[in-house]
């Protein structure tokens, strides 16, 4: 059966090897770095709806988007949520695997990347007009480079702090041709963040330990991290790991810092307040004695997307249950920009 195709294939193999070697030697094959033809405009990202548009992204690359994208691939869960929130969701043709799809329609978008890696082949086959990737290792850098080498416009976004979430949102909006919606969404979120800040600023700040994992060690939040600033906004004095890169929490340090409240960001992974109270050495902590160990919805606190307001309200409810914030009870699913849109 196989006998017939073999000989031609053999010849082909040799020819291919020869071609590959000679070609590689003679001509420099596709340049590794994209060549931005247009120099960066003085104000890097003007929030206009006009195309073509050139945006300077998190990776420092000038990304040129020639026309309003009809097909978009989203490689971060937050970008997927943002695209749906600014009503560009129907154009998302591929997304990174997400354990908590939001909104529910996002679940129907085909998966082109997982935690294990990005399926470049699938993305190329979708012929997207725009790819939104995560910076700082969110999307493997190598994958970003290869997509760019294949002439796909890749916009890299990364939110190191809360203000970045809003600017990312606006940039994604400009890139997707929904600049106005994204600006309204960001403005609405800014207003809600300001409201929370105003409500919590003068309160006593309890020492709060936010647990992000318990296997194999106890993990908390790093200094100056995104979650740490969320906790501060929610009126807490966050207990951090003591380093801006290390998320593992020394138990000695934790006991010494004596948290008044423990928030279980890992509650979805089977960690319960009873289990935490029973950990050897933890009984002495104020939070354990006062039974102030509270599960929390981790995704909306840590995902830099439209539901961050919901996450912040959740934190306030867990840290300062006595505080009422106007608008906190609004249905979270409808992260609607209409509130301030008029």
């Amino acid at each position: 059966m196989r006998a017939r195709p073999i000989r031609p294939t053999l010849v082909l193999l040799l020819a291919l090897l020869a071609a590959a070697c000679s070609q590689a030697g003679a001509t420099p094959t596709p340049p590794a770095t994209p060549s931005p033809a247009i120099p960066p405009s003085p104000s890097a990202s003007p929030p206009t709806a006009g195309f073509p548009v050139t945006l300077t992204d998190y990776s420092g690359t000038d990304v040129e988007i020639p026309a309003e994208p009809e097909t978009i691939v989203s490689l971060t869960p937050a970008a997927t949520e943002i695209l749906f929130a600014i009503e560009a969701g129907y154009r998302v043709v591929g997304k990174v695997e997400d354990i908590a799809n939001h909104p529910p329609e996002a679940a129907d978008v085909p998966v082109v990347a997982t935690f294990a890696g990005v399926d470049i082949e699938k993305i190329v086959a979708l012929e997207p007009d725009l790819v939104i990737a995560g910076g700082n290792g969110g999307t493997p850098e190598d994958a970003i480079e290869r997509l760019r080498a294949l002439d796909l416009p890749v916009l890299v976004v990364y939110a190191a702090d809360i203000e970045d979430v809003f600017t990312d949102m606006e940039q994604i909006g400009v890139a997707a041709g929904e600049a106005e919606r994204s600006r309204d969404l960001a403005d609405a979120m800014r207003a809600q963040f300001d409201a929370v800040d105003a409500a919590t600023r003068e309160l006593d700040r309890p020492r709060v330990f936010y647990e992000t994992g318990d296997q194999p060690a106890i993990y908390g939040v790093a200094d100056d991290s995104f979650v740490a600033s969320m906790l501060e906004l929610a009126g807490a004095d966050p207990i951090t790991t003591g380093s801006s890169t290390v998320w593992e929490m020394s138990q000695e340090r934790l006991v010494a810092e004596d948290p008044e409240i423990i928030l279980l960001g890992d509650a979805a992974y089977g960690v319960s307040p009873e289990g935490v109270a029973a950990r050897p050495g933890w009984a002495e902590m104020t939070a354990v004695e006062a039974n102030a160990i509270r599960p929390i919805d981790d995704i909306v606190v840590t995902r830099p997307g439209p539901r961050l307001v919901q996450g912040l309200h959740g934190l306030v409810a867990a840290i300062h249950p006595e505080v009422e914030i106007s608008g906190a009870s609004s249905p979270p699913s409808s992260a609607s920009p209409a509130a301030s849109g008029g």
Partner: protein, 359 residues
């Protein structure tokens, strides 16, 4: 062991003399055929379905410059030409390199457990890659990033260090080489653990490198690694006589007219260069370099003139099939596949070998 050093394996262990003489040729042809099938399958299959006719059309128009009517999209052409073909060819080149480097180190060190990574190459490359990940500077030269460069230098640097540290009076005794390699490897593994601890979000990059993958293959990277590997392999083949001599022991080799000291350094350098080039593009892929040379020796005997080229062929075939399987199973680590395919096969051969087996 009777078979040692004989050009052809002893007749007593095989059914007929005629078959033995023909066996390497038959194996060579079978290997080439398997490789061709692997190439066709590797380019033909992937996570996106491409019609065989389109694949063939793209290849003929690109390779032979024929003016084939385009029935495919630019995306399909990119998938076949820019993603799959360099990936398959890189897997082949790395398979060739690791198998030949393994055969070289096993013969050179007269140790059946030797593999391309035995003298600290793996830990050196891994440490280099991890350090590169920690450096927040992005340099790309001919599609090679800092990670590839540091991995390459780490692999070579560790072998140089091992060789220099193990030298006693101009010669590096085998035991001393192996133990120094082990000691230095452990030290670098500690460095790697430290780098991983410090890496934060970049941990995944280090992890991907440690598991090995051909996902990131490109023409540019293939063009960088292939000449080093293939020239290195040809040079090792040209030294098959010395490799045969060294297998008999230093004294015997010297009596046979082999310049033991020079040949050993040369082969060590070649094996290390091949390994470094391979791990720079693919990460650390285990098992191929250890098992393929053994399988070949079990089949054709210990003569390096046969073992080296057949190892190259089988290494390429195994790696290409392993990578294809890894892709089809959803980008699982290719090292897992090489082990799962290779280990049982090796065990069966080992048990069936009637004469017992030694290097």
């Amino acid at each position: 062991m009777a078979s040692r050093g004989q050009v052809v394996a002893p007749a007593s262990s095989f059914p007929s003399a005629g078959l033995i003489r023909r066996r390497p040729i038959v194996l060579g042809l079978a290997g080439l055929a398997a490789l061709a099938v692997a190439l066709a399958a590797g380019v033909g299959f992937g996570s996106v379905a491409v019609a065989p006719g389109e694949t063939l059309g793209i290849l003929t128009s690109r390779v032979l410059g024929l003016d084939v009517t385009r029935t495919w999209s630019a995306a399909t052409e990119a998938i076949v030409w820019d993603l799959r073909l360099p990936r398959v060819l890189t897997a082949m080149v790395v398979g060739v390199g690791l198998a030949v480097a393994g055969a070289t180190f096993q013969g050179l060190l007269r140790n059946p457990l030797a593999d391309p990574y035995v003298l600290g190459t793996a830990s050196g490359a891994a440490l280099g890659a991890a350090i590169a990940v920690l450096i927040p500077v992005r340099i790309v030269f001919l599609e090679f990033g800092l990670l590839h460069g540091f991995a390459f230098l780490g692999a070579l640097g560790s072998v140089v260090a091992v060789y220099r540290l193990s030298r006693i009076g101009g010669m590096a005794p085998l035991t001393s080489l192996l133990l120094t390699g082990y000691a230095l490897g452990s030290l670098m593994a500690a460095g790697l653990a430290m780098a991983m601890h410090l890496s934060g979000a970049a941990l995944r990059q280090i992890f991907t490198y440690l598991l090995g993958s051909f996902d990131a293959a490109s023409w540019g990277r293939l063009a960088g690694a292939a000449p080093l590997v293939l020239v290195g392999v040809l040079l090792v083949m040209s030294r098959a006589r010395a490799l045969n001599g060294l297998l008999l022991g230093e004294e015997t080799a010297a009596h046979l007219g082999v310049d033991v000291r020079r040949e050993r350094v040369t082969l060590l350098a070649l094996g290390s260069l091949i390994t470094a080039a391979a791990v720079a593009v693919s990460g650390l892929i285990g098992f191929v370099g250890l098992v393929v040379p053994h399988v070949v020796r079990l089949l054709v005997g210990p003569n390096a003139r046969l073992v080296v080229p057949l190892s190259a062929l089988f290494g390429a075939g195994l790696m290409t099939f392993a990578d294809l399987a890894a892709r089809m199973l959803g980008e699982i680590p290719v090292g897992v596949v090489t082990a799962v395919i290779g280990a049982p096969f090796f065990l069966v051969l080992l048990r069936r070998s009637r004469t017992g087996y030694e290097l």
